[in-house]
Symmetry: C2
Subunit: 357 residues, 2 copies
């Protein structure tokens, strides 16, 4: 029996509990590991919930329970989540999470702490939701140096841009619809201004460059100024507009380039068909060439799928990240310079936009 604690019983946390219960027999048959939700931390009450008798409101109950091997941190943010993650790792428990903000801000420290305590800190779900991405980067591409990443990392932005292009919605109409459907938060700033994408590209950049890339140092643009006219003009010229996180390594010794900005993606590029709430991440490895990973970048069940797979990866033994980790050394990243310097397109309204090449 592998006892699990879940911190936070919101959308992600309740999804993890649900998926563990639903798939426990399948996972046992496949791997021999019997996952079981023992304790759930939340200060709220959930009367009538199937897990009602598992709730505690004090983290130290989990911290002091030696039978709990894995903690799923589903709180989010960098407050209690940060404190409880450190305490769980100190207590010798593995921690798995979808908390991109915490990984992007404190990943290096937490990875170091995990190593020191012979535990794992894994975050497959933090980038690309349920899409297997960090694990294949670490394991399958272990012989590759990855020099270029271009990622559609935010499903909310991608949904809005798709609805504007295909249904002639204005930005405001598309945003309102996304909010109604639960794809966008009531305060959508983090998504539409590119901050969420910045956290995610920083995690990927840190993995491939081996140094901590902080979101605050990364030039970040959003989709708030994209117009229906620009989308139509792009389509007429064989492009579609996507918000991309980019990470590009350059000559050794030179700082890498990391940024978030809307791009024109040409027809024929594999990112061109990544629409709606889907995410797509294109990696370029020196041996394998271009590889694309595509799937649902968010949502209760896809996110829970990735968190549960990380649990199994903790239990397998060996190093789940295959050495593709990063040190607690901040790295300087260059901004991509003037947009006029790269290959770009100038719209009829005078706006310049980078072309993904």
């Amino acid at each position: 029996m592998v006892n699990i604690a879940i911190l936070g019983y919101g959308i992600v946390g309740s999804g993890v509990a649900e998926v563990i219960q639903e798939t426990a027999a399948l996972i046992d048959a496949r791997t021999g590991f019997k996952l079981s939700v023992k304790t759930i931390l939340d200060i709220r009450q959930f009367p009538g919930d199937p897990f009602a008798k598992h709730f505690v409101s004090d983290f130290s109950v989990i911290e002091r329970d030696p039978s709990i091997q894995i903690v799923a941190e589903c709180i989010g943010g960098v407050g209690a989540a940060y404190e409880f993650t450190k305490r769980a790792l100190h207590a010798g428990k593995h921690v798995v999470t979808s908390n991109k903000e915490l990984v992007a801000e404190h990943g290096a420290e937490l990875l170091t702490l995990a190593r020191a305590n012979r535990t794992h800190y894994l975050f497959e779900a933090a980038v690309g939701g349920g899409i297997p991405l960090i694990h294949p980067m670490a394991q399958c591409l272990s012989a590759n140096s990855i020099s270029d990443i271009a990622g559609i990392l935010n499903g909310t932005c991608n949904y809005i841009l798709t609805r504007m292009r295909d249904n002639s919605f204005t930005f405001d109409e598309a945003l309102l619809e996304a909010q109604k459907l639960g794809y966008a938060e009531s305060d959508p700033t983090d998504d539409i201004m590119g901050h969420d994408s910045a956290r995610k590209i920083c995690i990927l950049a840190s993995l491939i460059f081996g140094r901590h890339v902080f979101p605050g140092r990364v030039q970040t643009g959003g989709i708030q100024n994209i117009t229906l006219e620009q989308l139509k003009e792009a389509a007429a010229n064989g492009f579609t507009i996507k918000l991309l996180g980019r990470a590009q390594g350059v000559q050794s010794g030179e700082p890498p380039t990391v940024y978030v900005a809307p791009h024109l993606v040409p027809q024929g590029n594999p990112l061109y068909t990544v629409d709606d709430v889907y995410n797509g991440i294109l990696l370029s490895g020196d041996i394998v060439g271009d590889v694309l990973f595509y799937g649902r970048g968010a949502g209760k069940r896809p996110t829970a799928s990735a968190i549960v797979s990380d649990m199994l990866d903790c239990l397998r033994g060996g190093d789940p990240l295959g050495g593709l980790t990063w040190d607690d050394i901040p790295v300087n990243v260059t901004s991509p310079g003037s947009i006029k310097e790269g290959e770009h397109y100038v719209f009829a309204d005078g706006t310049a936009m980078r072309i993904l090449s």
Copy 2:
């Protein structure tokens, strides 16, 4: 030091030797494993080759060398490759390969033999070349039941179809060019008749259904009868033609459906933009939803990249396939029935073709 033996020094085998030499320092830094090519089996002579002094012509030299931990089987086919794989596993060595024919015909037996000898038999490179696919299916999607696979699994066919569509080449012209570029064999039967795709979809189907799906039992169509007119007519209707391997699970107790046939792929489907020699594999998991993996499905270096990553996966410990293996029990597969039964399109020339939905 992890001593490696390579069986067969053709394109794949020499690529493996080259990639190990090139990436040994990087892999050591990332994982602590020092890979080293100790012995290469080939009956040919390679005077002047950088590995010239490592050659042997007798497999028993490798079989009896206790210092060799991993054997990369790069012979291909089901003759010597089959015999040497069994002997290597019996001798307690891990075997990694890109040999899809051997895995498709004898995978269950070899996986069982590996388990019995506490070794691993891994074949990431056998499907989708360098694309991380089998490993993420096994590890990251371990909580999912995969019920549907649609894969562009043969780069030669995809290249021919792309050139016909985009450059108005006839089938024969496109094939001739593919042969000149080294994308197609001088005898291209296996590729264009769909047999290569059948082996690959059988491997994936065996993994998801847990029973051995034999290529000989799978209805297999190729691209030899696709005309330029059909490609133009498809494009005019918002489709592109792709040769797909399909595996679909149905109600429990019912046999799964596995087949290879040309399909009309609608614009907007993520497989629509998978062109040229690229492969794309779309999986549908019950929890994660749709996931696509895309990249180079063949080639010396992408294939070697996957073979080397499998070596590291053998060394990590635990079960690399996460229990996603299959038993030595042949499964009946149903043919997809009359093409008229599914969603289909009838060309002006009277040919009916299935639409990927």
